[in-house]
Amino acid sequence: MTISGIIGGILMLCGAAFLLLAGIGLVRMPDLFNRIQAGTKATTLGTLLTLAGAACLRPEWTLKLLLIGLFILLTNPISSQVLARAAHRTGTPKTAGTVDRLADDREERP
């Protein structure tokens, strides 16, 4: 039982908590765009924290864990952006009361 082991465990627990947050967000949020927001942000930080925790527990894996973390940090926002764009272009319903400047602009010059 070492200090770094406990720090690693706590980091992993925090990461799991953010993953849980993403899950709750996915279930509770009223429309797709809000779900993407909850899904992307919370899973990114959750995964990063878990990887950091694992790096504390097994320092010799740090480089590879860093690689996974960097990869997720770079790709996750891109994929959610592409998905949000596709959903908007295909007219996925938004929750009532959403102001939408993009749809306004599309109507002006189709």
Binding site: F18, L21, I24, G25, R28, M29, P30, D31, F33, N34, I36, Q37, A38, T40, K41, A42, T44, L45, E60, W61, L63, K64, L66, L67, L74, N76, P77, I78, S80, Q81, A84, R85, H88, K94, T95, G97, T98, V99, D100, R101, L102, A103, D105
Partner: protein, 165 residues
């Protein structure tokens, strides 16, 4: 000259990626990595805006280093923001898709800006159209272009302007 430094940057990135992937500095692995990275860097000597658009001045490198902690701080803030929204029983949402404008000219600068916006408090880039970005905002505070730009874009733009322009 500009081209040579871009190829060198690409080469260095590929080598680092290779070593991270292998997690070893054994002679044979390093040699294979150097040869492969050199070939790829040569093949892509004209492409890859990531490196050719980076300004490469000492100031740009320093800003890139400062950008990382700033970005991580915003990422944590964004998660706490989402946590507060999701865990409040009444679900206090005020979603809107707002239009903002960026001063950045380079494609790479705009891409990093869009990605950073996606990971920061309550905002998600939906569409890029030249200098205009359309952003979904979970708890929209401002609907007009200038106020939204000041609130969402300005923080990152400061850094990216030095890095990519």
């Amino acid at each position: 000259m500009k081209k040579a430094s871009a190829v060198a940057l690409l080469f260095a990135t590929l080598i680092i990626f290779w070593l991270l992937l292998n997690g070893s500095f054994a002679a044979d692995i390093v040699i294979v990595g150097i040869v492969t990275a050199a070939v790829i860097a040569f093949l892509f000597r004209d492409g890859l805006a990531v490196f050719s658009e980076f300004k490469g001045t000492p100031r740009a490198l320093l800003t890139a280093l400062l950008y990382i902690p700033y970005f991580l701080k915003e990422l944590v803030k964004s998660n706490l923001h989402i946590a507060r929204v999701v865990l409040t029983p009444s679900l206090p949402l005020n979603p809107a898709i707002v239009k903002v404008r960026t001063r950045l000219k380079s494609r790479m600068g705009r891409l990093i800006l869009a990605n950073s916006i996606t990971l920061t408090p309550g905002t998600l880039t939906v569409e890029l159209d030249g200098e205009w970005l359309y952003i979904h905002w979970v708890t929209a505070e401002a609907l007009d272009i200038d106020a939204a730009t000041a609130s969402i874009v300005a923080g990152f733009e400061k850094y990216l302007e030095v890095m990519y322009g």
